[in-house]
């Protein structure tokens, strides 16, 4: 059932994109044969045809395989994923050093807990200091040595 919903979702996205291709401006002088809409329409056709084929195969074959989706939103993956999303969302707001340090401290602490079932305070403190130091060093390497911009943060 899960996979059917996934296919329906893909078909719906394909349908929306197809409708959008109707509004593409055609500059016939530059390309009288294809225009900007033809290629995406061919691809949407391929997508629809493939999904239709998958539907037919599913109807013919009796075996069903479970659609993997939910595991992304449970357990370790959910928590690590949520941490990653938060990290990316706050990156530009609070800057690279603070956001990255926070993310690394929390993520390693959480994953350590999953692995060993406890969080030793002293070791975590030492690890946190090492992480902050490494992130500051990393930022200096990127910005001062390599001349690459990293987010500075809006609030700082």
């Amino acid at each position: 059932m899960g996979e059917m919903l996934f296919w329906l979702l893909l078909l719906a996205v394909g349908g929306i994109l197809f409708l959008q291709t109707l509004d593409f401006k055609v500059i016939a002088m530059m390309d009288p044969v294809m225009g900007p809409a033809r290629f995406p329409r061919i691809v949407i056709g391929l997508l629809a045809f493939s999904i239709l084929g998958l539907f037919v195969v599913r109807l013919i074959k009796k075996e069903r395989t479970a659609f993997v989706f939910g595991e992304l939103f449970t357990g370790i993956r959910l928590r690590l994923g949520a941490l990653t999303v938060c990290y990316i969302l706050i990156l530009e707001k609070i800057g690279f050093v603070i956001a990255t340090s926070l993310f690394l401290i929390l993520a390693t602490m959480y994953l350590y807990f999953v692995e060993y079932g406890s969080i030793p305070v002293k070791r975590t403190l030492i690890r946190s200091v090492v992480i902050v130091g490494s992130v500051v060093l990393l930022q200096m390497v990127f910005t001062k040595v390599m001349g690459v911009m990293l987010p500075l943060g809006t609030y700082f």
Binding site: T21, I44, F49, S50, I76, L80, L111, E115, G147, M149
Partner: protein, 506 residues
């Protein structure tokens, strides 16, 4: 030019980059759940501000090192470090269990050296020829080749052709976002200004491969405490004797050929290459009963093939701009950030760069062998680095890699979404390589098709006017059909064999 290029490679700074890259690559290959792709992704932000040649040397070293590193846990722990070293576990681990871990590692490293050098020489030989040939191509020939490559990559996973096409379509549609080629019409921008330039290659590739790999690696937490002792290694066992080389030369050669071809074909990659090679070696062996029980030929077949994939994958990349696997797609992305346009004209426009790639492939493989021999004990100890450190660090580098390419947080959002999409697709049997290749070749395929149709007036005229292009289009259509027929025949055979078996039982 050759002398100049070799001088460039042998400069102390270049050698230092190569050695660091190889060590990092071996490390990434050796740590289960990580791979050379992750290694290349991790290093990319460091390459953006480097000169092109040092950046290239670093990425190639990580790529080659990563392919070799997988053999360490495969032999010592029966855990393949990368998918390409799955077949190495079949005989490497039993040999190690029989008290010959150093010999197993030595055979693996020597086979890797042979496969790597063989494919590097193939790269050196065929890439310029193919590129020269490709220079005479018009737009319809280019479209034909891209079309053929896309069809091959979608069809490659047997029994999942339709899923391959779905993944390909997603990649192609993603490539349509932004502005259209030829006439620059805005497409699928959804009112988001950041989408006017389309999705960045780095964001898609890092998301689909590296981030998705991290989400997958999470499963190893709690079950991945590695207990292995570096003292099992005896360096003298690493070097094969003349008799051993002579005995195994045939297997090495055949496996290297299979690996190189697997590299050239888009999407096939190291895992399929080494497995195919292993099966072929077993078929051709005078002692097939030893396979699975610590056969030298088994280790050689797997390791020679997976290292030969590296040079093979670079052949279509340098000659045609078509990456052979995920890691070469990343290298292509990083080089695009450097302003290098990979494709058939590359030999003409950037000869120094291309020849450095060709010669460096040979050098890196040689250095790789010596590093593996000298530092094996250290690598064995380093693979014990716990996942709870590695996963968050790799995620941070994925973010840096996407952000620093254009200094846009939007690219990081795209990477995140692609990571989740990649994970879901991969877990459900949809080919990620088809998606990424669709994304990479989408814009150029459309551009060449449209140019060809403007020139010829219609698709029919183009088919008649360009025989080579037409041949590739026909091959592209025929390839999935042939795969479908082969699959049907196989199914029928299986049903027949099942019926015969039941009849015999009755």
């Amino acid at each position: 030019m050759a002398v100049e290029v070799i001088q460039n490679i042998l400069q102390p700074s270049s050698l230092l980059l190569i050695i660091s890259g190889i060590c990092l690559g071996i490390l990434f290959g050796a740590i289960p759940g990580l791979s050379s792709t992750t290694g290349v992704a991790l290093l990319m932000p460091f390459t953006y501000t480097m000169d092109t040649i040092p950046a290239l040397l670093l990425m190639l070293s990580v790529y080659f090192g990563g392919m070799s590193g997988g053999l360490i846990p495969a032999i010592l722990l029966k855990i393949p470090g990368t998918p390409a070293s799955v077949a190495t576990t079949f005989d490497g681990y039993p040999m190690a269990q029989k008290g010959r871990p150093s010999k197993a590692l030595g055979i693996g490293i020597s086979a890797s050296l042979f496969g790597g050098i063989f494919s590097a020489l193939a790269l050196l030989l065929f890439s310029p020829l193919l590129s020269q040939f490709a220079l005479s191509f018009g737009p319809f020939e280019y479209f034909g080749i891209s079309f053929f490559a896309l069809m091959v990559v979608s069809t490659i996973s047997e029994g999942k052709m339709l899923k391959g096409f779905v993944a390909l379509s997603i990649g192609l549609l993603m490539s349509c976002v932004g502005t259209s080629p030829i006439d620059g019409v805005k497409r699928f921008q959804m009112g988001i200004p950041a989408m006017s330039g389309g999705f960045q290659l780095m964001s898609v590739v890092i998301g689909v491969f590296a981030l998705a790999e991290m989400l997958n690696s999470v499963k190893l937490i709690g079950s991945s405490r590695i207990h292995v002792d570096g003292n099992v290694v005896r360096k003298n066992d690493f070097f094969l004797t003349a008799a051993e080389w002579k005995k195994n030369l045939g297997t090495m050669f055949r496996s290297s050929v299979i690996g190189t071809i697997a590299g050239v074909l888009p999407g096939l990659g190291g895992a399929a290459g080494s497995m195919l090679s292993y099966m072929q070696a077993k078929k051709a062996s005078k002692r097939p009963e030893e396979f699975g029980n610590g056969s030298e030929e088994g280790i050689i077949a797997s390791e020679a093939a997976n290292n030969a994939v590296t040079g093979g994958a670079l052949i279509p990349l340098l000659s045609l701009g078509i990456p052979g696997d995920a890691a070469t797609a990343l290298v292509m992305g990083a080089l695009t950030v450097q302003g290098i346009q990979i494709g058939p004209g590359l030999f003409r426009t950037n000869g120094e760069f291309v020849y450095t790639t060709l010669y460096a492939s040979v050098f890196i493989n040689l250095i790789l062998f010596f590093i593996a021999v000298i530092a094996m004990k250290i690598f064995i100890n380093i693979i014990k680095i716990p996942k709870y450190y590695l996963i968050p660090i790799v995620i941070v580098f994925c973010v840096i890699g996407c952000y620093t390419a254009n200094s846009r947080i939007f690219d990081v959002y795209v990477m995140l979404i692609c990571g989740y999409i990649g994970y879901i697709l991969d877990k459900n049997g949809y080919s990620l390589t088809a998606l990424v290749l669709g994304f990479i070749l989408g814009t150029t395929s459309e551009q060449y098709l449209r140019r060809a149709l403007i020139y010829f007036g219609s698709f029919g005229n183009a088919m008649r006017g360009s025989l080579l292009g037409a041949a590739f289009v026909v091959l592209g259509v025929a390839y999935p059909l042939a795969a479908l027929i082969r699959q049907r025949l196989k199914q029928k055979q299986q049903i027949r064999a099942g019926n015969d078996g039941r009849r015999d039982e009755n």
